[in-house]
Amino acid sequence: MKRFFLAALMLLYLFMLTGIGYGQSGDRRGGDLKYGEDELAGSLNPYDANAVSTSDRLFALIYEPLVRYDVDKDDFIYVLAETSKTSPDGKKLTFMLRTTPRWHDDKPFTAADVKFTYEYIRSKQKYARKYQHITAILEEGPSAISFIFAAGQSDPRDFFTRWIIPKHRFGAHMEDLQPEPLKKYPIGTGPYLFGNMTIDGEINLQLNDRYWGKTANILNLVMKPQPDPQSKVMALTYDGIQLATEIKPNYLAQVAQDKKFFTRPYSSFSFDAFAYNCRNPLLSEAVVRRAMTMALNRKSLLDNFYFGKGQELAGPVIDSSPFYNAELRPLPFNPERAKAMLDSAGFRDQDGDGIRERITDKAKLRFGLIVPVEKEAQSTETGQVANAFKEAMARIGIAIELEHLNRDVYDKRQFVERKFDIIWVRWEFDTGYNVRELFDANEDFVNGKNFIGYRNPSIQELINKFIHAPDPVYKRDLMMAFQEVLRDECPYTFLYSINATAAWTRRLIVTSIDPYYFFTFIPDWYFPVTSRARTRMMD
C-alpha cells in the first residue's frame, strides 16, 4: 500500500513537472498589445518620401533586412541572409540567402526580391547618390546574390541594412500594383502580418504563424496614433494602450512614479546643437564660437528642461555609436574664461552698451537665433533652451535676437536660403550614423547637409581618409581625431542627446528594446498568463 502511494506520488510529481514545462513555453503565446505613437504612419512603403519614425517602427515588425547592425554587440547580425563573403579586393560582396523565409502572401523569398529591392532603391532620387557606387547586381541562383562596387569597400555590409520588399507586388516598370499597392497593403517577411488600417490611422497587425524564425508570442498588435501627449499618458493610465514608445519629459515624472508602469530610457540617435553659420564673417572665427560654447551651461539645460534625461555631448557622435570618443570631455562651462578669450581676440565693449564689437572694424557681436516651433510640447523646451542661450550670451556681451519660425519656413531658411546666423538644430540619424556629411565641404550646396558652410582642411582630410580607410581600427582612430578637432573648432555648440523613454504596463514583459527600431526583439516579449485575461481586443 505504502509503495503504491509512493509510486503514485512520484508519478504525480513527474506529471506536474511536465505540466510546468509545457506551460512555460506554450503559455507565453497570447495577448493583444495596443501601443501609442506620436503621429500617423503615412505610407507603408519604406522607400516612399514621407516615412516618419512611426513607420520605421512598423517596418521593423513587417519587413526584414539582409543584415542588421546590433548596437550592443557592435557587429552585423544576419537576418534574411545566412552568410556573406567579400572578395579580397573589396569590390564584390556575395550574400548567401536563407531559403525558409516566405512572404506574408505565401510566396517564397528569393534573390530576385533582393535584386529588385536594390534596383528600386537606386531608382528613387533620395537614395540614388548613396547607392551609385554599386555598379552591378548579379543573381547567382535562387538564394545567392552578389553586388559589384565601383571601388573597394572595407565593410560594405553597411549598405545592406535596408528593408527587402517583394518583387511580385510591383509591375514590370517598378510601378505599384493596384488595387493593393505596397504603400497601403505592405507585404514583408517579418514576424507580424499587416491586417488593416482604419480610417483613423490605427493599424492592426497579426502574428505571422509561419515566420521562419522564432514566432512571436503576442497575437495581435494595434498601433494607435496619439498626437496629443496628454491623452497618450491618459490612455496609458486607463488601459487604452499598453505601451507608449515615447513619453515626453514633462509627462515622464507622473508616469515613472506610477507603480503600474515600467519605464526604460533608450538613446534616441539624435543630438541637439546650436549651429553657427560659418559664412558670417564674425562667426567664421573659431574663437568666437568657442567662447560662446564655453559661456553656455549645457548640463544645466539638460537638467532643467529635460529632467536630466540625456547625455551631454562633446561632439556630434553619441555614445551608442561605435566611434564614440569616451575620453573626450566637452568644453568646460567657464564664462570668465570665455570673456577673457573674447577680450584677447579683439572683441571689447568700448561704447558701453553691453555688446562687444571688434576693435578693428567696430562690427558688433549681434546675432539672430532661429528656433523652430513644433506642434506639441516640444516647442516649450526648445523655446526655453533658446531663451537660456540668449541670457547666457548676454552675460558675456553678445546680443542674441530670437526668431521663432514654423517648421516649413525653418526648413527653407536652413537648407534652401541658408540665411541665418545661429540656428537650433536636432539632427536625427539612422543606424548608419554618418555625421561626417555634416562637416564635409562636398555637402555644401542647397539642400545639402553641410548647410553651415563649414570648410576646414584638416577635417576634410580626416573625412577623405575615412572613406578609403582599409581597416576598422584605423577608422576608429580617424573618428577620434575628428571629434577632437570638432570639439575645439565648435562649428556647432554641441548640447546633448536626449533619451527617449518608453513606458509600458506591468502586465507586459519586455526583454529588450532596440534603440532605433524598437520592436526588433518583440518575439521575446510576452504577457504572463495571469495578466492576459484583462487585455482585450479592440472592437
Binding site: Q230, Q254, H404
Partner: protein, 420 residues
C-alpha cells in the same frame, strides 16, 4: 408736514435720481465690467512701460505664498509616514543599517500628527519657520533627517531657517517627530526657495504668474480692436447700403452677408494663420471679417425700419444727396447706438478665439506670454495637481470675457429702454 428748505429738497431730489439711476437695469453690472476694463487698460500700460522687468525669471514652478491658495491649488504634498523606534541616529537617511526605523505604514492616529501644514515656499533673505505643534502628543523629541544648509529645529519643535540668495531651488525636508515610547512620525515636504517673493507663484519657465497675467493683457485689447476696426466698417457698409438702397444692391449685399456667415469661422482663421505664419493680428483681422455678418444684418434691419420715416422723406425733398442722408441722418444719428455693443461683443469673442488658438498651439508663441498660452504650457500640471498656473489665467479670461459681454448686454438693455 415739516417744511423742507430749498437745500433739502434739492438734495433729496438729487439723491432720488441718483439711486434711481444706479438701480436702473444693468448699471451695477456695467460698472463692475468697466472696472475690469480699466484694469485691463492698466495692465496694457504696465506692459508697455515695463516689459523686461515683467519677464524676469526666478525659480521654476513655485507655488503661491498664501497658505489658503496652497491648500486650494496644490495636491497635499506633506507626506506623513510612521516610523518605529529603533536606533537613534536619524541623520544618515540613506542605507541605514537599522532598516526597521523606516517601515512606512499608513499613518494612523496613534502617531503624532501636526496641526498645520507647513508653507511650501520660502524667499531668500526672509525667515522660514514651521511649528510642528502636534495634535495628540505633547511630549516628543524632534530630529531633522534631511534639510538644507542652515536649517535647525529647536527642542520645542520650532523649525527655522533663513535661506540665502544662492540657495534658490527646491529642497526636500524630512522632520522626525519621536515620542519617547511608541511609533513616531516622519513629516516630509518640499520647499521651493525663490529670490523674490511671488504672490501667485511662478510658471514652468520661472516667470512670476502675476507678471504673466499682466503680460497677457496686451492680447486682450489690441487684437480685439483690430477685429473691431475691420468688422464695424464692413457691417456698416454692407448693412447700411443694403438697407437703404434696396433692389439689386440689397439682394447682392445680403447674399454677401450670407456668404460670409456660412464660412466656418475657425477654419478661415486657420487658413489665414497658415498664410501669415500664425501672426495673431492677421488672424484677428480675419476674425473681424468672420464676425461682421451678424451685425450687418441688424444694421440692415434698423436702416430698413428708419427708411420709411418722414424725416428721411423731408431730407430727400430738401435735395440732400443719398450719401449724406445715409451717413448722417440714418447711421450717425440713429443707427449708431448698437455699434458700441457690437464692439464689446467682438472684443469678447476675440479673447475667446485667442485663447482657443493658443490652446491648439496656433496662437501666441514664445517668448510672448498670453493667458491662453499659459493654459497650453501647463496642461501637464493638471495631473501633478499643480494648478496655480492654470487657475489664475482661467479666472482672468472668464472675468474679461464676462466683462465685455456684460457691457454689451447692458448697453443693449439701455438702448431698448430708451426706445432706440
Amino acid at each position: 408736514m415739516p417744511r423742507k428748505n430749498r437745500w433739502t429738497i434739492y438734495h433729496t431730489q438729487r439723491e432720488v435720481s441718483f439711486n434711481h439711476w444706479f438701480r436702473q437695469n444693468g448699471t451695477k453690472e456695467m460698472a463692475a465690467a468697466l472696472a475690469v476694463l480699466l484694469l485691463l487698460l492698466l495692465g496694457n500700460i504696465l506692459v508697455v512701460l515695463n516689459k523686461d522687468a515683467l519677464q524676469k525669471k526666478d525659480t521654476r514652478n513655485q507655488p503661491p505664498t498664501n497658505s489658503f491658495l496652497q491648500w486650494l491649488l496644490m495636491k497635499p504634498s506633506l507626506e506623513i509616514v510612521e516610523v518605529t523606534q529603533g536606533e537613534v541616529s536619524g541623520i544618515d537617511f540613506y542605507g541605514t543599517p537599522g532598516a526597521s526605523l523606516l517601515s512606512p505604514k499608513a499613518a494612523q492616529e496613534t502617531s503624532p500628527r501636526p496641526r498645520k501644514r507647513p508653507s511650501f515656499t520660502a524667499v531668500a533673505g526672509k525667515g522660514y519657520s514651521f511649528n510642528a505643534v502636534l495634535k495628540n502628543f505633547p511630549d516628543v523629541r524632534y530630529a531633522l533627517v534631511r534639510a538644507p544648509e542652515g536649517m535647525g529645529v529647536s527642542p520645542t519643535g520650532q523649525l527655522s531657517w533663513t535661506p540665502t540668495a544662492e540657495q534658490a531651488g527646491i529642497y526636500k525636508i524630512s522632520l522626525d517627530v519621536l515620542p519617547f515610547a511608541g511609533t513616531g512620525t516622519r513629516l516630509s515636504w518640499e520647499v521651493s526657495v525663490s529670490e523674490k517673493p511671488h504672490a501667485l507663484g511662478t510658471d514652468q519657465s520661472g516667470r512670476d504668474i502675476l507678471a504673466c497675467l499682466i503680460l497677457g493683457t496686451q492680447w486682450t485689447l489690441l487684437p480685439g480692436l483690430i477685429a473691431v476696426l475691420i468688422s464695424i466698417p464692413l457691417s456698416l457698409l454692407f448693412g447700411g447700403m443694403a438697407g437703404y438702397y434696396g433692389g439689386m444692391i440689397e439682394t447682392f449685399l445680403s447674399h454677401g452677408i450670407t456668404l460670409f456667415s456660412a464660412m466656418p469661422s475657425l477654419v478661415l482663421i486657420f487658413l489665414t494663420g497658415a498664410i501669415f505664419n500664425f501672426n495673431i493680428y492677421a488672424m484677428m483681422a480675419v476674425l473681424g471679417v468672420v464676425l461682421f455678418p451678424r451685425n450687418a444684418l441688424q444694421i440692415k434691419n434698423k436702416v430698413l425700419s428708419l427708411k420709411e420715416n418722414q424725416f428721411i422723406e423731408a431730407a430727400r425733398e430738401l435735395g440732400m444727396s443719398d450719401r449724406r442722408i445715409l451717413l448722417k441722418d440714418i447711421l450717425w444719428h440713429n443707427a449708431r447706438t448698437p455699434v458700441l455693443s457690437f464692439c464689446f461683443q467682438i472684443m469678447a469673442f476675440a479673447i475667446l478665439i485667442e485663447v482657443t488658438l493658443s490652446y491648439l498651439n496656433l496662437g501666441i508663441k514664445e517668448p510672448d506670454v498670453s493667458w491662453g498660452k499659459m493654459i497650453f504650457d501647463h496642461r501637464s500640471m493638471i495631473q501633478e495637481q499643480k494648478l496655480w498656473p492654470l487657475f489664475f489665467p482661467a479666472v482672468t479670461i472668464f472675468l474679461s470675457v464676462a466683462a465685455f459681454y456684460l457691457l454689451a448686454d447692458g448697453l443693449n438693455k439701455r438702448n431698448k429702454i430708451r426706445g432706440v
